[in-house]
Amino acid sequence: MVQPIYEYVFSGLVVVLMVSTSISTIFPITLAHLSQTSSLQLQGNARNILDKLLLTPGDPYDWGTDLSINSSQSDGLRDFGLAGSLTFNTLYRLDPSKVERLINTSTIDNPYYIPPKRAAEIMGLEKEFGFSLSFEPVLQISSHILNKTIVTRVTTPETIPVANVNVTAVLIRLNSANEEEFEIATSSTDWNGTAVLDFSGADNFDSVAYIILSDYYNIQTRTVGGSNLIEAVLIGNNIVVKYPIGTDLEETISNSRSPLYTVGKRTYIGEFESSSASISAYQLDTGGKTFVIYPLSNADPDISLATFITDIEGETKLIAAFRPFPTTYETGPIAGSTRHTLIRLVEVAGVSMRVKFHIWRLSE
């Protein structure tokens, strides 16, 4: 009677051992395969989403210039994409007016910002994926004013100097008669990536705004700078100015004067309005802040600098609006054990940029 009991106990133990061995073997394999499948799916999703972002214009196709779509009111935006609208649609050439909607930093107050979570919501990603889109110019320029010259240096993002780069500087300044004037200087970078642009002929260098455009075998980039001016931003074809607190806005708007100079990618300088009539403008109140918007209805979409002058409390001021560079646009910090990264080259307002796209699953 005793022996069969030992048999059953032993057989039972062996069965338990088999089951536990099987589970401990199968479980990690299954997990690894699930993780690999998830990673492959994410890779496919990453490509599709990035292609959608960079190669489709969104809906409406010209939403970048539609100012009724802004940070507080974005219901009109039905689909999200950054490609140029039909008028200048080329592969991987992004619409500057759409890219600017992604910029909102401590230094750039953008009333037309579209929050990344809203973009994720429009693309149907908000519940499943997080993403990060970062832009970096292929070549970078630094510059500073030294006496009546602008010293500029062209490097890679890894700070390796780039020689033989064609550099053009457009300088817009207030002359001694308090009128706007512009000058252009060109040069080429030396072995150290440095070029000096000489404006020694200028009679007054107190209030200046400049843009430097560089070109190396069509890798283009730019930088802007200036001194003693009121800085503004170009959002689409609009100059957005946040005047100093206490400024009499109505009087300032009525004192705003032409000529209004624009500097673009191809036409180095354009006199936008030659009449002396004041520039049409309106106020925009959003998020407790007041902006003055100067629309440029017929400007080239890739202008990078626009200037005009105005009188504030009897003092003539140069207003310079720069087109800001996009940096990082993300739904949150990069996270998740399964994530995927893609890199693409794009052009934004004449600047060659590398776009790094990270995507991850929110559930991991």
Binding site: E7, F10, S11, T90, V138, Y216, Y217, Q220, I343
Partner: protein, 162 residues
């Protein structure tokens, strides 16, 4: 030894034998299973898109219109591609001049020096050992009517010895 005890011993032997077969099957399966997420397969498509992306970027800017008008243009294009490629990427580019002759086209290499960021002595090894390698070809007509075929091979740096 009775008949019943012998039956019990056989049962135990059967179970042990079954357990050995089962566990050895799992052990073998683990070793022979090919990882589904082979990085070379996974990212070669990305490399191809990147290669096309770089060619497309240069074509749109009219870079290759300089090919016949400048001296040492190979060096300029080499540096430009080096700047455009992400760090850790090898490339080798050949530009062909296409001459259409009836139904066929004859491709003649235009670059007299290699357009690559890899030393000639190391090129073969660098491309062979790369875990990810891909290529892209684009045709381009220059402003003066020259018909060019642009071919670029890109590879991720690194890899293991074969």
């Amino acid at each position: 030894m009775t008949h019943g005890s012998r039956t019990g011993q056989f049962r135990i032997l059967e179970v042990v034998f079954a357990a050995v077969i089962l566990s050895s099957t799992y052990s073998v399966a683990i070793f022979i299973m090919e990882p589904a997420n082979n990085p070379a397969i996974r990212t070669s498509d990305d490399m191809e898109i990147l290669a096309f992306n770089v060619l497309n970027h240069m074509v749109q800017g009219g870079t290759f219109d300089r090919v016949t008008t400048e001296e040492n243009w190979e060096d300029g294009i080499k540096i430009a591609i080096t700047r455009l490629m992400p760090p850790g990427t090898y490339f080798n580019m050949t530009i062909f001049n296409a001459t259409i002759n009836g139904p066929s086209a004859m491709l003649t290499p235009l670059n007299t020096s290699p357009i690559t960021n890899v030393q000639a002595a190391e090129a073969l090894q660098a491309f062979q050992r790369s875990p990810e390698i891909s290529s892209s070809t684009l045709t381009y007509t220059t402003k003066n009517g020259q018909f060019l075929v642009l071919r670029i091979i890109v590879a991720a740096a690194g890899g293991v010895s074969q």
